[in-house]
Symmetry: C2
Subunit: 337 residues, 2 copies
DNA sequence: TTGTAGGCGTTATCAA
DNA sequence: TTGATAACGCCTACAA
C-alpha cells in the first residue's frame, strides 16, 4: 500500500492535520514545522490520494472531451492539435483530461456524457463541433456541469464560448477566388445540423453576393468533413455540364478529397482548378499542391477554452466569456491558377 | 447535491447495505427487493459516486495513455486510430481513458507519469513507441503499476505486449521493390533510441541481403517520423551523386514528406521514383499518388491492449500475454514504376 | 501553532 | 435475507 498522510504524521510525531496544512501552504503552521513536513513527505514519497481528496473536496480535477469521431477513427488533424492543447493546459492547472470518441447524436454519445456526468467523474466538459440544436447544452445545464464551447449553437447563448468567425473567413476566401478570376465557385459543405455548416455556407453566400455572382445551387454539395466526403462530392461536381473552376471545402480534409478526385480525372489543381479548405492544420502544407486555407489557432484556442472552463469550475470571474476570433487566409499553390 | 445511496435507502426503508448489494447483483438479496431497489434507483437517477467508490475500492477504473507528441501537435493519424480503439474498449469494460501528450524522454514526460502513478489516478497504463532502453518500464514495474506495451524494449521481457513484426514487414517491402527492378533503395529511419527503428532498419537490411544487394550507407538517413523529417531527408537523398530509385520511409508520414520533396523537384513518383511507407492509416490512400505501405491493425491492436491491461489490473489470467502480428503489404501507385 | 474529530459516499465484514 | 458499522484517506471546523 502506498504511503498515506498518517504515515507521514506518525514518523514526525505530528497530527495529520498539521501535515495536511503544512503541505497545503496554510500560514498557521510554524516555518520549521512546514519544512520538516515537506522534506520528510518528499523523502517518503508521499503524494495525496486522488480518490480520497476527490471524495472530500467533491471535485475530481478532471475535465472531459468527447471527440466527434465517425467509426473507428478520427482522421481530422484538427483534433490532434486540439487535444494537445487541452491536455497541456489542463496539466498546467493541475487538472487531467479524460477523452473518448463518439459519433454525434448517437446512443453511444449520450451514454458517454451520462456516464461522466452522473457519476461526477468530470468537473467540466469541453464541447466542440456544436449542432444548431445541441442536446448537450441543455443536458449539461440541467445537470449543473460547467462547460465551454468551441463554436456555438443556433440560439443566442449566455454560456462561454470561443468562436472562429468562419462566416467572415469564407467570404474572404470567395473574394480571393473572385480576384483570381473565378466565377463558378463550388462549395462542399458539412451536414446541415452543424453550426459550422450554417456559418461557412453563409460566408460563401456572402462572398458571392459581394461579387455579384448569383448563387448556383448545382455548385453546392454536402460532404461530411472527411476526405472521402470531399472526394465523392468533387466527383459529382466534375460531372456537371458546366463544372466549377474553383471548389471550396468546408474543411481541409474535404479539400484534400477534392485534390484526389481532381488528380484521378487528370485535372491539374492550381492551373485548371482552384481548391481551398479551412482549418490550416499541418496537412494543408503537405498536400500536392499545397492548399490555400483559412487558419484558425487550434492549439491556442484549446488552451484558452481549458482556462475558461477551469475558471468556471472554480467559480472565478470569467472575462470575457465569449470570444470571437478571425481566421487568417493562407494563400498557397492550390489557388494559383 | 446529487442523490446518494442514503437517499435511495431512506425512500425504500432499507439499509444502504441492501441497496448497495442489490445494485451490485449480489445473490443474497431477495428478488423482489432487488427489483424494487433497481427501479427506484433508476427513477431517482441514482448513480454511485466515482470518488467514493474509488476510495473504498482503491481503484479508479481509469487507464492512462501518453501520446508521444512533438511540440504542440501529434500529427500522426496512427494515434487518432489508436486512441479511438483505447477509448472504445475502455468504455466497454466500464473504464475510462486519461490522455495527455509529452515528447519522449523529457522532463514533462516524467512528471506526467509520476503524477498519474503516485496519486494513483490511473490503475494501469498503455505504453507505445517504446525505446530500446525505456525508463517507463522500470519505473512502472517498481511502482507496481500494471502496464502493457505496443512494441517492446531492447531486452527480453516478461511483460505483456503486442508487437507488429515490422522487421519481417520491411524485408517484404524491400523484396517488393527489388521485384520491380530497384537496386538503389534508400531508407529514412527514426531516431535510434526507438525500438521500431532497430526493427525496421534490420528488416530493410535483411531485405537487401536476401536480394544480394550490399548495404549502401549513403542511402540510409535519419528522419523523425514526421512529414517534415521525411521531406528534409528526401531532399538530401536527391542531391546524391547517384540518387536512389526507391525510398522507404519508417512510417507513412515520413513517406508523405518524401512525396512532397519529390514533387518540388519535378520527380514523378510511381514513374521516376518508388516510395513506400508503413502503418497503412487512412492518409496513405489519399496521398498523390496513393502510397504503397505496410498496414498494421491499429484500432484492433489498441482494443486488444486494453483488454489485456484490464485483465492485468483485475489479476485475471492473461493468455497469451505476448502477441506478435504480421503487417500486410498494400501495393499502390507509388511503387508502380 | 497544533490536535481532535467528523464526514465526504461507498463497499465489505460481521452479526442478527 | 437484511442491517449496523467500520473503514478507505483526506480536509477542515473547532477546540486546546
Amino acid at each position: 500500500m502506498a504511503v498515506t498522510i498518517r504515515d507521514v504524521a506518525k514518523k514526525l510525531n505530528l497530527s495529520i492535520t498539521t501535515v495536511s496544512r503544512a503541505l497545503d501552504d496554510y500560514d498557521d503552521v510554524a516555518h520549521t514545522t512546514r519544512e520538516r513536513v515537506r522534506s520528510t513527505a518528499r523523502k517518503m514519497g508521499y503524494v495525496p490520494s486522488r480518490a480520497a481528496r476527490n471524495l472530500r473536496r467533491q471535485r475530481a480535477d478532471i475535465i472531459g472531451y468527447v471527440i466527434p469521431a465517425s467509426g473507428t477513427r478520427f482522421t481530422d488533424p484538427f483534433f490532434s492539435e486540439f487535444i494537445a492543447g487541452l491536455g497541456d493546459q489542463a496539466v498546467s492547472h493541475n487538472f487531467d483530461l479524460l477523452i473518448s470518441t463518439a459519433t454525434p447524436d448517437t446512443e453511444k454519445e449520450k451514454q458517454l456524457y451520462a456516464r461522466w456526468v452522473s457519476s461526477r467523474l468530470v468537473d467540466g466538459i469541453i464541447l466542440s463541433r456544436l449542432r444548431l440544436e445541441d442536446w448537450r447544452v441543455e443536458y449539461l445545464q440541467r445537470n449543473h456541469v460547467p462547460f465551454v464551447m468551441h463554436g456555438r449553437t443556433q440560439s443566442k447563448t449566455k454560456f462561454p464560448f470561443i468562436e472562429i468567425d468562419s462566416r467572415a473567413g469564407f467570404a474572404l476566401l470567395v473574394k480571393h477566388l473572385v480576384e483570381r478570376g473565378h466565377r463558378r465557385i463550388a462549395y462542399i459543405g458539412a451536414p446541415e445540423k452543424f453550426t459550422l455548416q450554417r456559418d461557412r455556407y453563409a460566408g460563401y453566400q456572402n462572398g458571392l453576393s459581394a461579387a455579384n455572382i448569383p448563387l448556383d445551387k448545382t455548385l453546392v454539395c454536402q460532404g461530411d468533413l472527411t476526405r472521402a466526403g470531399g472526394y465523392h462530392a468533387a466527383q459529382s461536381l466534375f460531372q456537371l455540364r458546366k463544372p466549377p473552376t474553383a471548389i471550396i471545402g468546408a474543411n481541409d480534409l474535404t479539400a484534400e478529397g477534392v485534390l484526389r478526385a481532381a488528380r484521378e480525372r487528370g485535372i491539374v489543381v492550381g492551373r485548371d482548378l482552384a481548391v481551398a479548405g479551412y482549418d490550416g492544420t499541418e496537412v494543408s502544407e503537405h498536400t500536392q499542391p499545397p492548399l490555400t486555407t483559412l487558419r484558425q489557432p487550434v492549439y491556442e484556442t484549446a488552451r484558452k477554452l481549458v482556462t475558461m472552463l477551469i475558471a468556471l469550475i472554480q467559480n472565478e470571474p470569467l472575462e470575457p466569456s465569449q470570444i470571437i476570433l478571425q481566421p487568417e487566409l493562407i494563400i498557397r499553390e492550390s489557388t494559383a491558377g
